[in-house]
Amino acid sequence: MTELTRRLVDFIQENLVQDGDDITVDETTPLLTSGLLDSLRTARLLNFLRKDVGVPVPAAKLESENFQDVTTIVALVRELESV
Protein backbone atom coordinates (compact mmCIF):
# COMPACT_ATOMS: atom_id res chain seq x y z
CA MET A 1 0.00 0.00 0.00
CA THR A 2 1.50 3.35 -1.02
CA GLU A 3 1.72 6.26 1.40
CA LEU A 4 -1.05 8.12 -0.43
CA THR A 5 -3.30 5.06 -0.30
CA ARG A 6 -2.66 4.72 3.44
CA ARG A 7 -3.39 8.40 4.07
CA LEU A 8 -6.65 8.21 2.15
CA VAL A 9 -7.75 5.02 3.88
CA ASP A 10 -6.98 6.57 7.28
CA PHE A 11 -8.75 9.83 6.42
CA ILE A 12 -11.88 8.05 5.22
CA GLN A 13 -11.93 5.73 8.21
CA GLU A 14 -11.55 8.58 10.68
CA ASN A 15 -13.61 11.28 9.00
CA LEU A 16 -16.20 9.76 6.70
CA VAL A 17 -17.31 6.57 8.46
CA GLN A 18 -20.14 7.58 10.76
CA ASP A 19 -20.21 6.64 14.41
CA GLY A 20 -22.02 3.36 14.75
CA ASP A 21 -21.26 2.17 11.21
CA ASP A 22 -19.34 -1.09 11.24
CA ILE A 23 -17.09 -0.40 8.26
CA THR A 24 -13.36 -1.09 8.07
CA VAL A 25 -12.03 0.87 5.13
CA ASP A 26 -9.39 -0.45 2.74
CA GLU A 27 -8.41 0.57 -0.78
CA THR A 28 -11.24 -1.43 -2.35
CA THR A 29 -14.06 -0.40 -0.02
CA PRO A 30 -16.84 0.99 -2.24
CA LEU A 31 -17.38 4.64 -1.34
CA LEU A 32 -20.54 5.39 -3.30
CA THR A 33 -22.44 2.12 -3.19
CA SER A 34 -21.71 1.88 0.55
CA GLY A 35 -23.24 5.31 1.06
CA LEU A 36 -20.04 6.77 2.49
CA LEU A 37 -19.92 9.77 0.14
CA ASP A 38 -22.84 12.20 0.46
CA SER A 39 -22.62 15.94 -0.32
CA LEU A 40 -20.92 16.98 2.92
CA ARG A 41 -18.55 14.01 3.09
CA THR A 42 -17.65 14.43 -0.59
CA ALA A 43 -16.74 18.03 0.25
CA ARG A 44 -14.63 16.88 3.23
CA LEU A 45 -12.76 14.40 1.02
CA LEU A 46 -12.14 16.98 -1.72
CA ASN A 47 -10.88 19.49 0.83
CA PHE A 48 -8.51 16.85 2.24
CA LEU A 49 -7.17 16.17 -1.27
CA ARG A 50 -6.66 19.87 -1.90
CA LYS A 51 -5.26 20.95 1.46
CA ASP A 52 -3.41 17.91 2.77
CA VAL A 53 -2.49 16.02 -0.40
CA GLY A 54 -1.99 19.21 -2.40
CA VAL A 55 -4.10 18.15 -5.39
CA PRO A 56 -7.23 20.17 -6.12
CA VAL A 57 -9.81 18.21 -8.08
CA PRO A 58 -11.67 20.33 -10.67
CA ALA A 59 -15.41 19.84 -11.11
CA ALA A 60 -14.82 18.27 -14.52
CA LYS A 61 -12.97 15.39 -12.84
CA LEU A 62 -15.69 14.79 -10.28
CA GLU A 63 -17.01 11.72 -12.05
CA SER A 64 -18.39 8.93 -9.89
CA GLU A 65 -16.05 6.47 -11.69
CA ASN A 66 -13.11 8.36 -10.15
CA PHE A 67 -14.53 8.01 -6.64
CA GLN A 68 -15.53 4.34 -6.59
CA ASP A 69 -12.87 3.50 -3.98
CA VAL A 70 -9.46 4.61 -2.72
CA THR A 71 -7.73 2.90 -5.65
CA THR A 72 -9.61 4.99 -8.25
CA ILE A 73 -9.01 8.17 -6.23
CA VAL A 74 -5.27 7.44 -6.10
CA ALA A 75 -5.30 6.95 -9.90
CA LEU A 76 -7.08 10.28 -10.30
CA VAL A 77 -4.57 12.04 -8.04
CA ARG A 78 -1.67 10.57 -10.05
CA GLU A 79 -3.33 11.72 -13.28
CA LEU A 80 -3.86 15.25 -11.96
CA GLU A 81 -0.31 15.40 -10.61
CA SER A 82 1.10 14.50 -14.02
CA VAL A 83 -0.67 17.35 -15.82
Binding site: L37, N47, R50, L62
Partner: protein
Protein backbone atom coordinates in the same frame (compact mmCIF):
# COMPACT_ATOMS: atom_id res chain seq x y z
CA UNK B 1 -25.46 33.04 -17.89
CA UNK B 2 -23.49 36.24 -18.23
CA UNK B 3 -25.38 39.53 -18.13
CA UNK B 4 -24.41 42.85 -19.62
CA UNK B 5 -25.77 46.11 -18.27
CA UNK B 6 -28.00 44.59 -15.62
CA UNK B 7 -27.82 46.32 -12.26
CA UNK B 8 -29.17 46.21 -8.72
CA UNK B 9 -30.48 49.60 -7.64
CA UNK B 10 -32.23 48.71 -4.39
CA UNK B 11 -32.04 46.10 -1.62
CA UNK B 12 -34.61 45.64 1.12
CA UNK B 13 -34.71 43.44 4.19
CA UNK B 14 -37.31 42.78 6.83
CA UNK B 15 -36.19 40.91 9.93
CA UNK B 16 -38.51 40.45 12.91
CA UNK B 17 -37.13 41.89 16.12
CA UNK B 18 -37.66 38.68 18.05
CA UNK B 19 -34.69 36.34 18.05
CA UNK B 20 -34.92 33.01 19.82
CA UNK B 21 -31.49 31.78 20.81
CA UNK B 22 -30.35 28.22 20.33
CA UNK B 23 -29.52 28.24 24.04
CA UNK B 24 -33.16 28.92 24.88
CA UNK B 25 -34.38 26.38 22.33
CA UNK B 26 -32.18 23.70 23.93
CA UNK B 27 -33.38 24.65 27.42
CA UNK B 28 -36.99 24.42 26.27
CA UNK B 29 -36.37 21.04 24.65
CA UNK B 30 -37.12 22.33 21.15
CA UNK B 31 -33.60 21.76 19.78
CA UNK B 32 -31.33 18.84 20.73
CA UNK B 33 -28.19 19.84 22.66
CA UNK B 34 -26.04 17.59 20.47
CA UNK B 35 -27.28 19.42 17.36
CA UNK B 36 -26.43 22.75 18.99
CA UNK B 37 -22.89 21.58 19.67
CA UNK B 38 -22.48 20.02 16.24
CA UNK B 39 -23.73 22.93 14.13
CA UNK B 40 -22.70 25.97 16.22
CA UNK B 41 -25.76 28.02 15.24
CA UNK B 42 -26.80 30.92 17.49
CA UNK B 43 -30.49 31.57 16.92
CA UNK B 44 -33.43 32.24 14.63
CA UNK B 45 -35.52 35.32 13.89
CA UNK B 46 -39.18 34.65 14.61
CA UNK B 47 -42.10 36.63 13.19
CA UNK B 48 -44.90 35.42 15.45
CA UNK B 49 -48.22 35.91 13.68
CA UNK B 50 -46.92 38.45 11.16
CA UNK B 51 -47.87 37.01 7.73
CA UNK B 52 -45.10 36.41 5.21
CA UNK B 53 -46.78 38.65 2.58
CA UNK B 54 -46.73 41.53 5.10
CA UNK B 55 -43.00 41.03 5.63
CA UNK B 56 -42.59 40.88 1.85
CA UNK B 57 -44.42 44.19 1.53
CA UNK B 58 -42.08 45.86 4.06
CA UNK B 59 -38.95 44.56 2.30
CA UNK B 60 -40.30 45.52 -1.14
CA UNK B 61 -41.21 49.04 0.00
CA UNK B 62 -37.72 49.49 1.39
CA UNK B 63 -35.99 48.20 -1.76
CA UNK B 64 -38.11 50.42 -4.00
CA UNK B 65 -37.61 53.49 -1.85
CA UNK B 66 -33.87 52.93 -1.80
CA UNK B 67 -33.82 52.46 -5.59
CA UNK B 68 -35.60 55.77 -6.07
CA UNK B 69 -38.10 54.12 -8.39
CA UNK B 70 -41.85 54.67 -8.27
CA UNK B 71 -43.73 51.49 -7.31
CA UNK B 72 -45.74 51.38 -10.53
CA UNK B 73 -42.66 52.01 -12.66
CA UNK B 74 -41.79 48.32 -12.94
CA UNK B 75 -42.00 45.70 -15.65
CA UNK B 76 -42.10 42.60 -13.45
CA UNK B 77 -42.76 41.44 -9.90
CA UNK B 78 -41.51 38.01 -8.84
CA UNK B 79 -42.36 36.65 -5.39
CA UNK B 80 -40.30 33.69 -4.14
CA UNK B 81 -41.79 31.49 -1.45
CA UNK B 82 -40.85 28.19 0.18
CA UNK B 83 -43.75 27.63 2.60
CA UNK B 84 -47.47 28.44 2.75
CA UNK B 85 -48.05 32.18 2.49
CA UNK B 86 -51.74 32.60 3.25
CA UNK B 87 -55.03 31.07 2.13
CA UNK B 88 -54.30 28.22 -0.31
CA UNK B 89 -55.13 29.19 -3.86
CA UNK B 90 -54.50 32.86 -3.12
CA UNK B 91 -51.40 34.30 -4.79
CA UNK B 92 -49.25 36.25 -2.30
CA UNK B 93 -47.90 38.58 -4.98
CA UNK B 94 -51.44 39.91 -5.43
CA UNK B 95 -51.01 41.49 -1.96
CA UNK B 96 -48.00 43.42 -3.24
CA UNK B 97 -49.81 44.32 -6.44
CA UNK B 98 -52.76 45.76 -4.53
CA UNK B 99 -50.72 47.45 -1.81
CA UNK B 100 -47.68 48.60 -3.74
CA UNK B 101 -47.13 48.22 -7.48
CA UNK B 102 -50.61 48.12 -8.99
CA UNK B 103 -52.20 45.82 -11.54
CA UNK B 104 -50.21 46.78 -14.63
CA UNK B 105 -47.05 45.06 -13.44
CA UNK B 106 -46.76 41.45 -14.60
CA UNK B 107 -46.47 39.37 -11.43
CA UNK B 108 -46.12 35.76 -10.42
CA UNK B 109 -44.93 33.49 -7.64
CA UNK B 110 -41.71 31.49 -7.82
CA UNK B 111 -41.99 28.25 -5.89
CA UNK B 112 -38.46 26.95 -6.19
CA UNK B 113 -37.64 26.49 -2.55
CA UNK B 114 -34.55 28.14 -1.17
CA UNK B 115 -33.19 28.81 -4.68
CA UNK B 116 -36.16 31.00 -5.51
CA UNK B 117 -34.22 34.26 -5.58
CA UNK B 118 -31.64 32.86 -8.01
CA UNK B 119 -34.40 31.67 -10.33
CA UNK B 120 -36.09 35.07 -9.98
CA UNK B 121 -32.82 36.82 -10.88
CA UNK B 122 -32.39 34.73 -14.01
CA UNK B 123 -36.02 35.10 -15.12
CA UNK B 124 -36.08 38.83 -14.39
CA UNK B 125 -32.79 39.52 -16.18
CA UNK B 126 -34.06 37.63 -19.22
CA UNK B 127 -37.42 39.42 -19.10
CA UNK B 128 -35.76 42.84 -18.99
CA UNK B 129 -33.52 41.90 -21.93
CA UNK B 130 -36.37 40.45 -23.98
CA UNK B 131 -37.93 43.72 -25.18
CA UNK B 132 -36.67 47.25 -25.63
CA UNK B 133 -37.92 49.75 -23.08
CA UNK B 134 -38.18 47.33 -20.17
CA UNK B 135 -36.36 48.87 -17.26
CA UNK B 136 -36.86 47.27 -13.87
CA UNK B 137 -38.08 44.26 -11.92
CA UNK B 138 -38.91 43.82 -8.25
CA UNK B 139 -37.85 40.49 -6.73
CA UNK B 140 -39.16 39.54 -3.31
CA UNK B 141 -38.87 36.51 -1.02
CA UNK B 142 -40.65 35.89 2.28
CA UNK B 143 -41.55 33.09 4.66
CA UNK B 144 -42.96 32.62 8.15
CA UNK B 145 -42.32 29.10 9.41
CA UNK B 146 -44.17 29.55 12.69
CA UNK B 147 -47.16 27.51 11.51
CA UNK B 148 -48.65 24.17 12.42
CA UNK B 149 -47.05 21.23 10.56
CA UNK B 150 -43.64 22.94 10.60
CA UNK B 151 -40.92 22.73 13.26
CA UNK B 152 -38.25 25.36 12.60
CA UNK B 153 -35.85 23.61 15.00
CA UNK B 154 -36.00 20.28 13.18
CA UNK B 155 -36.57 21.54 9.66
CA UNK B 156 -33.55 19.84 8.12
CA UNK B 157 -30.04 18.58 8.71
CA UNK B 158 -27.71 21.41 9.79
CA UNK B 159 -30.12 24.32 9.76
CA UNK B 160 -32.95 25.95 11.69
CA UNK B 161 -35.69 28.05 10.11
CA UNK B 162 -35.82 31.83 10.45
CA UNK B 163 -38.69 34.12 9.38
CA UNK B 164 -37.80 37.08 7.17
CA UNK B 165 -38.30 38.84 3.85
CA UNK B 166 -35.88 40.28 1.33
CA UNK B 167 -36.18 42.27 -1.88
CA UNK B 168 -34.10 43.46 -4.81
CA UNK B 169 -34.73 45.94 -7.59
CA UNK B 170 -33.06 44.71 -10.79
CA UNK B 171 -32.71 47.33 -13.51
CA UNK B 172 -31.33 48.02 -16.98
CA UNK B 173 -30.57 51.52 -15.77
CA UNK B 174 -27.68 52.16 -13.47
CA UNK B 175 -27.48 50.87 -9.92
CA UNK B 176 -24.95 50.52 -7.13
CA UNK B 177 -24.08 46.94 -8.14
CA UNK B 178 -23.82 45.05 -11.38
CA UNK B 179 -25.26 41.56 -11.81
CA UNK B 180 -22.45 39.71 -13.57
CA UNK B 181 -23.73 36.15 -13.85
CA UNK B 182 -26.40 33.75 -12.64
CA UNK B 183 -26.14 29.98 -13.15
CA UNK B 184 -28.48 27.15 -12.17
CA UNK B 185 -28.40 23.43 -12.78
CA UNK B 186 -30.56 20.58 -11.49
CA UNK B 187 -29.32 17.23 -10.18
CA UNK B 188 -32.33 15.25 -11.31
CA UNK B 189 -31.08 12.01 -9.71
CA UNK B 190 -31.63 13.68 -6.33
CA UNK B 191 -35.26 14.63 -6.98
CA UNK B 192 -36.49 12.28 -4.25
CA UNK B 193 -34.18 13.82 -1.62
CA UNK B 194 -36.88 16.32 -0.63
CA UNK B 195 -39.79 13.96 -1.39
CA UNK B 196 -38.70 10.94 0.59
CA UNK B 197 -41.31 8.23 0.69
CA UNK B 198 -44.28 10.60 0.75
CA UNK B 199 -46.98 9.93 -1.82
CA UNK B 200 -47.62 12.65 -4.39
CA UNK B 201 -51.35 12.40 -3.72
CA UNK B 202 -53.01 13.57 -1.65
CA UNK B 203 -50.50 16.33 -0.88
CA UNK B 204 -49.23 16.05 2.70
CA UNK B 205 -50.55 19.39 3.91
CA UNK B 206 -54.11 18.47 2.86
CA UNK B 207 -54.06 15.52 5.24
CA UNK B 208 -52.27 17.36 8.04
CA UNK B 209 -48.90 15.65 7.59
CA UNK B 210 -45.98 17.36 9.29
CA UNK B 211 -43.24 18.72 7.07
CA UNK B 212 -39.64 17.61 7.71
CA UNK B 213 -36.86 17.63 5.16
CA UNK B 214 -34.70 15.81 7.72
CA UNK B 215 -37.14 12.88 7.75
CA UNK B 216 -37.46 12.89 3.96
CA UNK B 217 -33.67 12.98 3.55
CA UNK B 218 -33.44 9.90 5.80
CA UNK B 219 -36.17 8.16 3.80
CA UNK B 220 -34.30 8.97 0.58
CA UNK B 221 -31.11 7.40 1.92
CA UNK B 222 -33.00 4.27 2.91
CA UNK B 223 -34.62 4.10 -0.53
CA UNK B 224 -31.45 4.55 -2.58
CA UNK B 225 -29.42 2.17 -0.43
CA UNK B 226 -32.07 -0.51 -0.83
CA UNK B 227 -32.07 -0.04 -4.61
CA UNK B 228 -28.28 -0.25 -4.79
CA UNK B 229 -28.12 3.27 -6.23
CA UNK B 230 -26.32 4.44 -3.11
CA UNK B 231 -25.36 8.05 -2.59
CA UNK B 232 -24.07 8.89 -6.08
CA UNK B 233 -26.87 11.47 -6.38
CA UNK B 234 -25.60 13.28 -3.27
CA UNK B 235 -22.03 13.15 -4.61
CA UNK B 236 -23.34 14.83 -7.77
CA UNK B 237 -24.90 17.68 -5.77
CA UNK B 238 -21.46 18.71 -4.52
CA UNK B 239 -20.06 18.41 -8.04
CA UNK B 240 -22.90 20.64 -9.30
CA UNK B 241 -22.12 23.22 -6.62
CA UNK B 242 -18.50 23.33 -7.78
CA UNK B 243 -19.60 23.57 -11.41
CA UNK B 244 -21.99 26.48 -10.95
CA UNK B 245 -19.46 28.35 -8.79
CA UNK B 246 -16.70 27.85 -11.36
CA UNK B 247 -19.02 28.85 -14.22
CA UNK B 248 -20.34 32.02 -12.59
CA UNK B 249 -16.82 33.13 -11.67
CA UNK B 250 -15.51 32.40 -15.18
CA UNK B 251 -18.42 34.31 -16.77
CA UNK B 252 -17.70 37.22 -14.44
CA UNK B 253 -13.96 37.21 -15.08
CA UNK B 254 -13.30 36.98 -11.34
CA UNK B 255 -10.96 34.54 -9.60
CA UNK B 256 -12.29 32.92 -6.42
CA UNK B 257 -9.37 34.38 -4.48
CA UNK B 258 -10.45 37.89 -5.47
CA UNK B 259 -13.96 37.54 -4.02
CA UNK B 260 -14.65 39.93 -1.17
CA UNK B 261 -17.42 37.81 0.32
CA UNK B 262 -19.33 34.60 -0.35
CA UNK B 263 -22.91 34.14 0.81
CA UNK B 264 -24.11 30.55 1.09
CA UNK B 265 -27.24 29.42 2.86
CA UNK B 266 -27.42 29.99 6.61
CA UNK B 267 -26.33 26.47 7.44
CA UNK B 268 -24.10 24.93 10.09
CA UNK B 269 -20.49 26.03 10.46
CA UNK B 270 -19.19 22.74 9.06
CA UNK B 271 -21.50 22.75 6.03
CA UNK B 272 -20.64 26.35 5.12
CA UNK B 273 -16.93 25.72 5.63
CA UNK B 274 -16.63 22.32 3.94
CA UNK B 275 -19.21 22.57 1.15
CA UNK B 276 -18.66 26.22 0.25
CA UNK B 277 -15.65 28.11 1.60
CA UNK B 278 -13.03 25.34 1.54
CA UNK B 279 -14.26 24.34 -1.91
CA UNK B 280 -13.30 27.86 -3.03
CA UNK B 281 -10.09 27.79 -0.94
CA UNK B 282 -11.31 30.81 1.04
CA UNK B 283 -11.30 31.38 4.81
CA UNK B 284 -14.53 31.50 6.80
CA UNK B 285 -13.84 35.19 7.46
CA UNK B 286 -14.97 35.84 3.88
CA UNK B 287 -18.23 33.95 4.37
CA UNK B 288 -21.46 35.36 5.80
CA UNK B 289 -21.79 32.53 8.31
CA UNK B 290 -21.09 34.74 11.33
CA UNK B 291 -24.21 36.74 10.45
CA UNK B 292 -26.31 33.88 9.13
CA UNK B 293 -25.90 31.84 12.30
CA UNK B 294 -27.69 34.57 14.25
CA UNK B 295 -30.88 34.66 12.14
CA UNK B 296 -31.42 31.10 10.89
CA UNK B 297 -32.09 29.80 7.40
CA UNK B 298 -34.65 32.26 6.02
CA UNK B 299 -35.98 30.38 2.99
CA UNK B 300 -35.04 32.07 -0.29
CA UNK B 301 -33.80 35.20 1.47
CA UNK B 302 -30.47 34.17 3.01
CA UNK B 303 -28.13 35.58 0.36
CA UNK B 304 -29.98 38.89 -0.09
CA UNK B 305 -30.24 39.39 3.67
CA UNK B 306 -26.48 38.91 3.85
CA UNK B 307 -25.98 41.41 1.02
CA UNK B 308 -28.10 43.95 2.88
CA UNK B 309 -26.21 43.30 6.12
CA UNK B 310 -22.80 43.66 4.46
CA UNK B 311 -23.81 46.92 2.79
CA UNK B 312 -25.34 48.40 5.93
CA UNK B 313 -22.29 47.51 8.03
CA UNK B 314 -19.79 48.85 5.50
CA UNK B 315 -18.32 45.45 4.69
CA UNK B 316 -18.91 45.79 0.93
CA UNK B 317 -17.88 48.82 -1.10
CA UNK B 318 -17.03 49.94 -4.62
CA UNK B 319 -14.79 47.45 -6.41
CA UNK B 320 -15.84 44.55 -4.18
CA UNK B 321 -17.40 41.40 -5.56
CA UNK B 322 -19.68 38.85 -3.96
CA UNK B 323 -20.54 35.27 -4.89
CA UNK B 324 -23.90 33.88 -3.84
CA UNK B 325 -24.44 30.13 -3.75
CA UNK B 326 -27.46 28.06 -2.88
CA UNK B 327 -29.27 24.77 -3.26
CA UNK B 328 -32.95 23.94 -3.26
CA UNK B 329 -35.30 21.02 -3.76
CA UNK B 330 -35.14 19.46 -7.19
CA UNK B 331 -32.20 19.39 -6.42
CA UNK B 332 -31.37 22.75 -7.96
CA UNK B 333 -27.97 24.31 -7.42
CA UNK B 334 -27.38 28.01 -8.18
CA UNK B 335 -24.75 30.71 -8.19
CA UNK B 336 -24.67 34.44 -8.83
CA UNK B 337 -21.92 37.03 -8.89
CA UNK B 338 -22.45 40.72 -8.23
CA UNK B 339 -19.89 43.50 -8.37
CA UNK B 340 -20.29 46.65 -6.30
CA UNK B 341 -19.66 49.68 -8.47
CA UNK B 342 -20.76 52.51 -6.21
CA UNK B 343 -21.74 53.23 -2.63
CA UNK B 344 -25.49 52.67 -2.24
CA UNK B 345 -27.08 56.09 -1.69
CA UNK B 346 -28.98 54.91 1.40
CA UNK B 347 -25.90 53.75 3.31
Amino acid sequence: MRYADTYISGVGAFLPRTVISVEKAVAKGWYPAEEAELHNLAGAVVAGDLPAPEMALHAAQSALKRSGRAPADLDLLLYASTWHQGPDGWPPHSHLQRQLVGGDVLATEIRQGCNGMFIALELAAGHLDAAPGRRAALLVAADNYGTPLMDRWRMGPGYIGGDAASALVLTKETGFARLMSVCTTTVTEAEELHRGSEPLFPPGVTVGRRMSFAARNDQFRQQVMAKGEATAALFKIQRALMEVAERALAESGIEAGALTRVAFMNYSEEIVEQRCMAMLDLPMSRSTWDYGRTIGHCGASDQVLSLDHLLMTGQLGPGDSMLMLGTGPGVTVSSAVIKIIDNPPWV
